[in-house]
C-alpha cells in the first residue's frame, strides 16, 4: 500500500466523519450490547464461583434418615474423591415473634472436623461469630423473615409441628451476636420443610453445643474434583455425578453396617427388652394377683369375722333389747301393780276416808239429826206445851165462852123464833140462827178440833219421842258398827299398805337389779360394739394399708411398665425407623437458589443471544448499506486508481481499512462501554435475589471476539464484495459516471384512479421507494428491528405488569390471609368466622386451604411452587379470588367434576381441559380431571371445591381465612393485624399489599434492565435512521440540487426526502411491530422465571410507544437532515459528475 493510498484513506475518513462515526456508533452499539450482555452471565458465574470457592461451598450434603456417627464420617472421608468432610446439625423450628411464627432453619456453625477444612464458611457482615452457647448468627438478608439486630433476642417456640424442640436444641432463647451470609443460601429461596407452613423463611446459625442430637444430622462433603472445576460448569456436573455415585455406594455400605450394627442390635435389644418386659410383667402380675388375693381374703375374713361378731352383738343386742323390754314391762308391771295396789289402797283409803267421812258425816248428821230431832222434839214439846197452855189459858176459855155465847145466841134465837111469827123476821132470825148455829158448830168443832189436835200432837210427840229414841239408839248402833267397820278397814288398809311397801320395795329392788343387769349387759354390748368397730377399723385399716400398698405398688409398677412399654415403643418406632436406613446424597443443585442462579445467568445469556444478535444484525446490515454507498461513491476514484495501475488488492484494501477501522474502533468503544455498564446494571437487578457479593467483571472473550469479528468481517466483507464488483468493470467505464438508475413504472401506476389522485410528490416518493429496493429493504429492516426491540423492551416491561396489577388486583381481591394456630381445623374455621363476623372493617371473607402438591402429567413432574387450594365454599370465592380465563375473562366455576389449574402449569405440561392429572401431597394421592385453566401469574395453583377434596381424601382440608377489607389502608391493616395476632388461636396474619410491595421492588430492578434495552434500542434506531437518511441524501444530492435550482423551497425539497423516510419508517414500524410480537414472546418465554408466568399480552400502549419512539427518532433525524439538505451546494452537486 502506497503512502498516497494511506493518505487517501485517512483523508477519506476525515472527509466523511459523519459516515465514519455513524458506522462506528452502530458497530459500537451492536457489539457493545452484545459483549456487555454476554459478559453478564460469565461475570455472574465467576462471581458465584469465586464466592463458592472462598466460602468453600460443599459439593455434597449428606442427610440420613438415621443420622451419622463417627464411623459414618470416617467412612465418608475415606471414600474416593472426598477431600473434606464436615459433620453438622440442623433442625427446623418456629420463631416466636410478634408478627407470627416463621419457620427458621437452625444450622450448626461450621466447625472443622479433625483435620478437614471448614466447609460452607459464613461471610460475616456484622458483629462476630458465637463464642459460647445461646449465641446466634442471623442471616443478612431476610425477605420474608424478621430483621434482627445485634443484641436482639431470638426466641423459638418449644414445639415445631409434632416435634419437641427441646429434643433438638437445649435452649429456646438466643442472643444475636452476628449477621452473616451463608453460601448455602444465595438467593431469597430458603427451601421447604415439614414444619409450620412448610416454607423456611430464614436460616440462623448456632453453636454445636446447643444441639442435643446424639448423631450428626448432616454431613457436608467437599470433593477433590471441585478444586479444578468451575461451579455450574458441565465438567463440574459430570464429575459431580460420578462422585455422587461413589458416595451412594458408601452410603449403601454404611446403611448395611448400620442395619447390622444398629438395627439388628437394636432389634435384639428390643426383643430382649420385650422379653424382659413380659417376664417382669408376668412376675409382677403374679405377685399382684397374689397380693390382691390376700387382700381379698383378708377382706373376706374381716368381713366374716365382723359379721360373726356383729351377729353376736346383734343377738346380745336383741337380748338386751328384750331384757330392756322385759325390764320395761316388769317396771311397767311393777309400777302398774304398785300403782294399782296403791290405787286400791288409795281407793280403800279413800273409801275408808269416805266411810270415815260418811261415818263422821253420818255421825254428825245423826248427831245433828238427833239433836235437831231432839230439838224438834223439844220444840214440839215446848210448842205443844206452849200451845196447850195457851189453849188452855186463852182459847179454851174463849172457845168455851164462844160456845156458850153461841149456845146462848142459838138458844135466844130459838126462843126468838119460837116467839116470833112474822115470816120475814122469822126467816132473818132463822138465817141468823143458822149462822149462829154454824158459828156454834164451828166453834165447837174448833174446840173439839183443838182438843183433838192437842191430843194428837201429844201422841204424835210421844211417838216421835219414842221413835226418836229408837232411832237414836239404832243410829248410834249403826254408827258404832260403821265405826267398827271403819276401824277394821283402816287396820286392814294399814296392813295392806305395809305389805305394799314391802312388796314395792321388794319389786323395786328386783327392778333395780334387773336394770343394773341390763345396764351391764348394755355396757358389755357397747363395749362389744366398739370393740367390734375397733377391730373392724383395724382390720379395714390393715386391709386399706394393704390395698394402698398394693395400689401404690401397682401404679408404680404400672408406671414402670408403662415407661418400659414406652421405651420399648420408642425403641420400636426408633427401630422401625431404623429399619430402612437411607442416606440422601444432595448435590449443590439441591441448594435453594443454587440452580436458579445458574438458570438466571443462563436466561440472561439467552437474552444476550437473542437480543444483541438481533442488534448486531441490524448494525451490520446498516454498515453494509453504508459501505456499499461509500464504495459506489468512490467509483471514479476506484477507476482512477485502477487506471493508474494500482492492484485490486490495494484498492480493496483501502475500503477494508476504512471499514475495518470503523468496525474496530466502534467495537472497541462498544465493548468498553458495554462490558463496563451492562453487567453491572443487570446484575444490580439480580442482586435483589442473590446475596453473594458484588460482581466483578469477567469479559466473555469469545463473545467479544465474536462480536468484533462479526462487525469487522461483515463490514470488510461488504467492502471487498462491493469493491470487487466495481473492480470488475474497466477503468474507463468506471471513470465515466455510472448510468443513473433508471426510473421505472411501479405497480401502483397501473391502478390509474389511485395514481391520478396522488399528488405529484407522492408519485415521486412512491417511485423513489421502489427505485432503490435494497435501500428500502435495509431501511425497513433496520427500522423494523429497532421498533421490534423497543416493542420487546416494552413488552417485557408489560409482561411484569400482570404480576402486580392483574395478580393482586384482578385475581386476588382479598387483602389479608389469617392463619389459625391449629392449622385450620373445623373449630378454627368456626372460631375465625365468629371473630371476623364481628369485625367492622371486614367486607367479605372465605376459607381456602393451601398445601404443597406434586403434580404429574404424562412424564412431567412438578414439585416446587405448586399448591393445592381447597375452597370451602365455592360460591363465596368469587369476591375474594377471581378464577377466570385470561383471554376472554370468562369466570370459571368449581365443580365436583374436577379441578381448575393455572395457565403456566397447563402450558408447561401441555395440559388441556379434560385431561387427567395426578396429584400427590401429604393428604394422599389422587387423579383428577382438569375442568378449566385460569389466569394466574404467581406460582401454580390447583383449585378444587371442599366436596371434591373430601370425596378424594376422605377428610376436611385445613383452611386459612381470606379477608377482604372495606378500608385497606396501611393503618387499618395494621389494626387488623395487631388485633388478630393478640388472639392466641391465630398464628399469622399476612397482607397482600406487603407481598405486592415485595414483588414490586423485585420487578422494579428488572425495569432497569428493560430501560437499558429501550435506550439501546432507541439509540440504535436513531443511528440507523440517521445513517440511512444520510445515505439517501448522499445518493440523491443531484436530485436535491436540481430541485433547489428549480426553485423549490427548502421545505419542499426536504419533504421529498422526508416523505420517503417517513413512508419507510412507517413500513419499518409496521414490520417492527409484527416482529416485536414474536420477539417479545420469545424473550418473555426465554427469561420467564420458574413458576411465574409473565404477562403474555403486549399492551397497545407498548406498540404505541415503540411506534411513537421510532417515529420520533425518524422526525428527529429528519430535522437534523434538513440542515444537511439545506447545505447541499447546488453548484458543486450539479457540476460534479458521478
Amino acid at each position: 500500500m502506497t503512502k498516497a493510498l494511506v493518505k487517501n484513506t485517512i483523508r477519506e475518513i476525515k472527509n466523511s466523519k459523519a459516515r465514519f462515526i455513524s458506522i462506528m456508533a452502530i458497530i459500537a452499539l451492536g457489539v457493545g450490547f452484545f459483549a456487555g450482555i454476554k459478559a453478564t452471565a460469565p461475570s455472574m458465574y465467576n462471581l458465584a464461583e469465586t464466592y463458592f470457592r472462598e466460602q468453600n461451598l460443599m459439593d455434597y450434603r449428606l442427610v440420613s434418615t438415621v443420622g451419622f456417627d463417627e464411623d459414618d464420617i470416617k467412612a465418608v472421608s475415606k471414600t474416593d474423591g472426598v477431600s473434606d468432610v464436615m459433620p453438622s446439625y440442623y433442625c427446623d423450628v418456629l420463631s416466636n415473634s410478634d408478627s407470627g411464627a416463621d419457620v427458621v432453619r437452625l444450622i450448626a456453625l461450621p466447625k472443622s472436623y479433625e483435620d478437614n477444612n471448614i466447609i460452607n464458611e459464613l461471610v460475616l457482615k456484622e458483629g462476630r461469630f458465637p463464642e459460647k452457647r445461646n449465641e446466634i448468627v442471623v442471616e443478612n438478608s431476610t425477605i420474608t423473615g424478621v430483621k434482627y439486630k445485634i443484641g436482639d433476642k431470638v426466641v423459638f417456640a418449644d414445639t415445631a409441628g409434632d416435634t419437641d424442640v427441646t429434643t433438638e436444641i437445649n435452649s429456646l432463647e438466643y442472643t444475636v451476636v452476628g449477621i452473616a451470609d451463608s453460601p448455602l443460601y444465595i438467593s431469597y429461596q430458603r427451601g421447604s420443610t415439614n414444619v409450620g407452613n412448610g416454607k423456611i423463611s430464614e436460616y440462623m446459625y448456632i453453636p454445636h453445643e446447643n444441639f442435643v442430637y446424639e448423631r450428626y444430622t448432616e454431613l457436608y462433603v467437599k470433593a477433590d474434583f471441585s478444586k479444578n472445576c468451575l461451579a455450574f460448569s458441565d465438567e463440574y456436573t459430570s464429575n459431580s455425578e460420578k462422585a455422587s455415585e461413589i458416595l451412594e455406594k458408601t452410603a449403601g455400605v454404611r446403611c448395611e453396617v448400620f442395619k447390622k450394627d444398629v438395627i439388628d442390635k437394636s432389634e435384639q435389644e428390643l426383643q430382649s427388652a420385650k422379653d424382659d418386659y413380659s417376664k417382669e410383667k408376668q412376675k409382677a402380675d403374679d405377685e399382684f394377683a397374689k397380693a390382691e388375693k390376700e387382700i381379698n381374703d383378708g377382706r373376706e375374713e374381716l368381713k366374716e369375722k365382723t359379721d360373726e361378731a356383729q351377729s353376736k352383738l346383734n343377738e346380745a343386742k336383741n337380748q338386751i333389747e328384750s331384757g330392756k323390754d322385759g325390764l320395761k314391762n316388769a317396771t311397767d308391771a311393777y309400777y302398774t301393780q304398785i300403782s294399782n295396789a296403791e290405787a286400791i289402797i288409795n281407793e280403800k283409803e279413800s273409801e275408808l276416808e269416805e266411810a270415815r267421812g260418811e261415818y263422821e258425816t253420818a255421825k254428825a248428821a245423826f248427831d245433828k239429826e238427833i239433836s235437831a230431832a231432839q230439838q224438834q222434839l223439844d220444840e214440839g214439846w215446848a210448842e205443844y206445851d206452849k200451845s196447850y197452855a195457851e189453849f188452855k189459858n186463852t182459847q179454851e176459855p174463849q172457845l168455851v165462852s164462844g160456845i156458850e155465847q153461841a149456845q146462848s145466841a142459838v138458844d135466844s134465837l130459838n126462843n126468838a123464833i119460837a116467839s116470833e111469827t112474822n115470816p120475814e123476821i122469822l126467816a132473818a132470825l132463822n138465817q141468823q140462827l143458822l149462822q149462829a148455829q154454824q158459828t156454834l158448830d164451828s166453834l165447837t168443832a174448833q174446840y173439839n178440833q183443838a182438843v183433838l189436835t192437842f191430843e194428837q200432837s201429844k201422841s204424835q210427840l210421844d211417838s216421835s219421842q219414842s221413835e226418836f229414841d229408837a232411832k237414836k239408839a239404832e243410829g248410834q248402833a249403826q254408827l258404832d258398827s260403821a265405826l267398827e267397820q271403819i276401824e277394821q278397814g283402816s287396820a286392814e288398809l294399814e296392813a295392806a299398805k305395809t305389805e305394799l311397801e314391802t312388796q314395792k320395795a321388794e319389786g323395786y329392788n328386783q327392778l333395780v337389779q334387773a336394770q343394773s343387769e341390763l345396764d351391764s349387759a348394755q355396757s358389755q354390748y357397747d363395749d362389744g360394739v366398739s370393740e367390734l368397730e375397733k377391730q373392724k377399723q383395724e382390720g379395714q385399716k390393715k386391709l386399706d394399708d394393704a390395698q394402698k400398698e398394693y395400689d401404690d405398688k401397682k401404679s408404680e409398677t404400672d408406671e414402670k411398665f408403662a415407661q418400659a412399654q414406652k421405651e420399648i415403643d420408642d425403641a420400636q418406632s426408633e427401630s422401625d425407623k431404623l429399619s430402612e436406613p437411607k442416606w440422601y446424597v444432595f448435590t449443590r443443585d439441591d441448594n435453594p437458589g443454587y440452580s436458579t442462579f445458574s438458570l438466571n445467568a443462563d436466561k440472561i445469556d439467552a437474552v444476550a443471544t437473542v437480543f444483541p444478535v438481533f442488534f448486531l444484525l441490524v448494525a451490520v446490515l446498516v454498515c453494509v448499506t453504508t459501505m456499499t454507498r461509500l464504495i459506489e461513491e468512490k467509483r471514479t476514484e476506484i477507476g482512477t486508481f485502477k487506471a493508474l495501475g494500482y492492484g485490486n488488492f490495494n484498492i480493496v484494501f483501502k475500503f477494508v481499512i476504512y471499514s475495518g477501522i470503523a468496525a474496530i474502533t466502534g467495537s472497541a468503544v462498544g465493548v468498553v462501554l458495554g462490558v463496563t455498564t451492562l453487567p453491572f446494571i443487570i446484575y444490580n437487578a439480580y442482586k435483589i435475589m442473590y446475596y453473594i457479593g458484588d460482581i466483578t467483571l469477567i469479559i466473555n472473550v469469545p463473545s467479544v471476539i465474536l462480536g468484533i469479528a462479526a462487525a469487522v468481517v461483515c463490514t470488510a466483507a461488504v467492502s471487498v464484495i462491493v469493491c470487487m464488483r466495481s473492480l470488475a468493470h474497466k477503468p474507463s467505464s468506471l471513470m465515466r459516471p455510472k448510468t443513473p438508475k433508471s426510473g421505472k413504472r411501479i405497480l401502483l401506476e397501473y391502478i390509474t384512479p389511485l395514481w391520478k389522485h396522488m399528488s405529484f410528490t407522492a408519485k415521486l416518493t412512491a417511485r423513489n421507494l421502489f427505485r432503490y429496493k435494497s435501500r428500502l429493504c435495509m431501511t425497513v429492516i433496520g427500522v423494523a428491528g429497532c421498533t421490534a426491540l423497543i416493542v420487546a423492551a416494552f413488552g417485557l416491561l408489560n409482561s411484569f405488569d400482570p404480576l402486580t396489577k392483574d395478580q393482586f388486583e384482578t385475581i386476588y381481591k382479598y387483602d389479608a390471609v389469617v392463619v389459625a394456630k391449629d392449622g385450620g381445623t373445623k373449630e378454627d374455621v368456626d372460631y375465625l368466622t365468629e371473630k371476623i363476623s364481628g369485625y367492622d372493617n371486614m367486607s367479605d371473607y372465605t376459607f381456602v386451604s393451601q398445601e404443597d402438591v406434586t403434580v404429574e402429567f404424562k412424564e412431567n413432574i412438578k414439585e416446587d411452587g405448586t399448591y393445592l387450594s381447597v375452597v370451602q365454599n365455592p360460591e363465596e370465592l368469587g369476591s375474594l379470588i377471581s378464577l377466570h380465563t385470561r383471554k376472554d375473562k370468562k369466570e370459571l366455576s368449581l365443580t365436583d367434576d374436577g379441578v381448575l389449574i393455572n395457565e403456566k402449569l397447563a402450558d408447561e405440561f401441555g395440559i388441556k381441559t379434560g385431561d387427567i392429572i395426578k396429584l400427590s401431597s401429604d393428604s394422599g394421592n389422587s387423579e383428577v380431571k382438569v375442568c378449566g385453566i385460569f389466569e394466574q401469574y404467581l406460582n401454580n395453583y390447583i383449585y378444587m371445591p371442599s366436596s371434591l377434596y373430601k370425596s378424594l381424601y376422605g377428610k376436611d382440608a385445613k383452611y386459612n381465612m381470606l379477608v377482604k377489607l372495606k378500608d385497606n389502608s396501611e393503618a387499618s391493616e395494621e389494626a387488623l393485624s395487631s388485633q388478630f395476632l393478640k388472639d392466641d388461636k391465630i398464628a399469622a396474619v399476612s397482607f397482600i399489599n406487603s407481598s405486592l410491595d415485595d414483588f414490586r421492588n423485585m420487578l422494579n430492578s428488572l425495569n432497569l434492565v428493560v430501560l437499558v434495552m429501550i435506550i439501546c434500542a432507541a439509540a440504535l434506531a436513531f443511528v440507523v435512521l440517521y445513517n440511512l437518511t444520510n445515505i439517501n441524501i448522499a445518493e440523491r444530492v443531484r436530485e436535491i440540487a436540481t430541485f433547489k435550482v428549480l426553485g423549490f423551497y427548502n421545505k419542499e425539497t426536504s419533504s421529498f426526502i422526508y416523505k420517503e423516510n417517513i413512508v419507510l419508517t412507517l413500513l419499518g414500524i409496521a414490520a417492527g411491530l409484527v416482529m416485536g410480537v414474536f420477539l417479545t414472546e420469545f424473550i418473555v418465554q426465554t427469561i420467564e422465571i420458574d413458576n411465574i408466568m409473565f404477562g403474555r399480552q403486549i399492551y397497545f400502549t407498548s406498540y404505541l410507544y415503540a411506534a411513537g419512539l421510532t417515529l420520533l427518532f425518524s422526525l428527529l433525524v429528519n430535522a437534523v437532515m434538513s440542515f444537511k439538505i439545506k447545505s447541499v451546494n447546488m453548484v458543486e452537486s450539479l457540476k460534479s459528475v458521478e
Partner: protein, 233 residues
C-alpha cells in the same frame, strides 16, 4: 432597457492564505429578448457568472440587477423565489429526475410556477410529445436535453440560463439543441443566456460576452446573428 445588469461584480474564493477572484469586477448588461452567449476557456469564470445570475451562488461584491432588483442583496428565500419564478436552467448533464417521466420532469417545474406552460405543450414545443411517458434513461442525450429545456420553458421564466447545454452531446444533437434555444428565444421573446467554451457558436448570439480569468475581455453585439444552420464548427 436592460433586463440584467452586472455592476462591478466580484466573486472571491479563499483558498487558505490566497484569495482567488473567480469573477473579477465585471459589469455588463443583457437586454430583454436577447440571446446572449458568455464564452471563455475553462476557469474563465463564466459558470460562476451564470450561477450568480441564476441565484445559485452569491457574489462577493457588486450589484446584479435583474428587472431592477438587486439580487445580490437577496436572502435565501428571495433567491429561491427568484429561481422559482424568474429563472429557467438548462444544464450540461440535463439533471433530469431519473425517477420521473419526461412529462413528469416538466410538470415538476411547472407545478411550482404561477402561470406555467402546459407540460405537454412545452414538450410539444421541443418536439418530444410522443416520448412524454418515457423515463430519462429511455431517452437519448439530446432528447434528455430537450426535456430539460422543456422543463425550463414550462416555467415561463424571464431568463433562460443554459450551462454548456451541448457539452455532453454530439455535434448534430448539439446543433438541434442550439436551434431549439434560438427558436425559443426568437419565437417566445425569451431572454437566453448561454455559456459555452466553444466560441464557434458565438455568431448565432445577439450578444457575445467573452471572459478570461474572471474578467470580461469582449462585450459585443452581433448586428446580424446567424441561424444555427448557418454555423459550422
Amino acid at each position: 432597457m436592460s433586463l440584467v445588469e452586472f455592476k462591478n461584480v466580484y466573486k472571491r474564493y479563499k483558498m487558505g492564505e490566497v484569495t482567488i477572484n473567480a469573477v473579477d469586477g465585471i459589469s455588463f448588461k443583457i437586454n430583454e429578448g436577447e440571446f446572449a452567449i458568455v464564452v471563455g476557456a475553462s476557469g474563465a469564470g463564466k459558470t460562476t457568472v451564470l450561477n450568480i445570475l441564476g441565484g445559485m451562488d452569491n457574489c462577493s461584491e457588486g450589484e446584479i440587477c435583474v428587472r431592477d432588483k438587486d439580487i445580490s442583496k437577496f436572502d435565501d428565500k428571495q433567491l429561491i423565489e427568484y429561481r422559482r419564478f424568474d429563472i429557467g436552467f438548462v444544464f450540461q448533464f440535463y439533471n433530469l429526475v431519473q425517477n420521473l417521466t419526461a412529462k413528469e420532469n416538466v410538470e415538476l417545474a411547472a407545478q411550482i410556477c404561477k402561470d406555467p406552460l402546459d407540460s405537454e405543450k412545452a414538450l410539444e414545443s421541443v418536439g418530444l410529445l410522443d416520448r412524454k411517458d418515457n423515463f430519462p434513461a429511455q431517452l437519448s442525450g439530446g432528447e434528455q436535453q430537450r426535456v430539460s429545456i422543456a422543463r425550463a420553458l414550462a416555467k415561463r421564466p424571464g431568463l433562460l440560463l443554459c450551462d454548456e447545454p451541448t457539452g455532453a452531446l454530439d455535434y448534430n444533437t448539439g446543433r438541434q439543441i442550439l436551434k431549439l434555444l434560438q427558436d425559443t428565444c426568437r419565437k417566445e421573446k425569451m431572454t437566453v443566456v448561454l455559456i459555452t467554451h466553444n466560441s464557434a457558436i458565438t455568431p448565432m448570439a445577439d450578444h457575445v460576452i467573452e471572459m478570461k480569468s474572471g474578467k470580461i475581455i469582449r462585450d459585443v453585439y452581433n448586428e446580424n446573428p446567424k441561424n444555427v444552420e448557418e454555423i459550422e464548427w
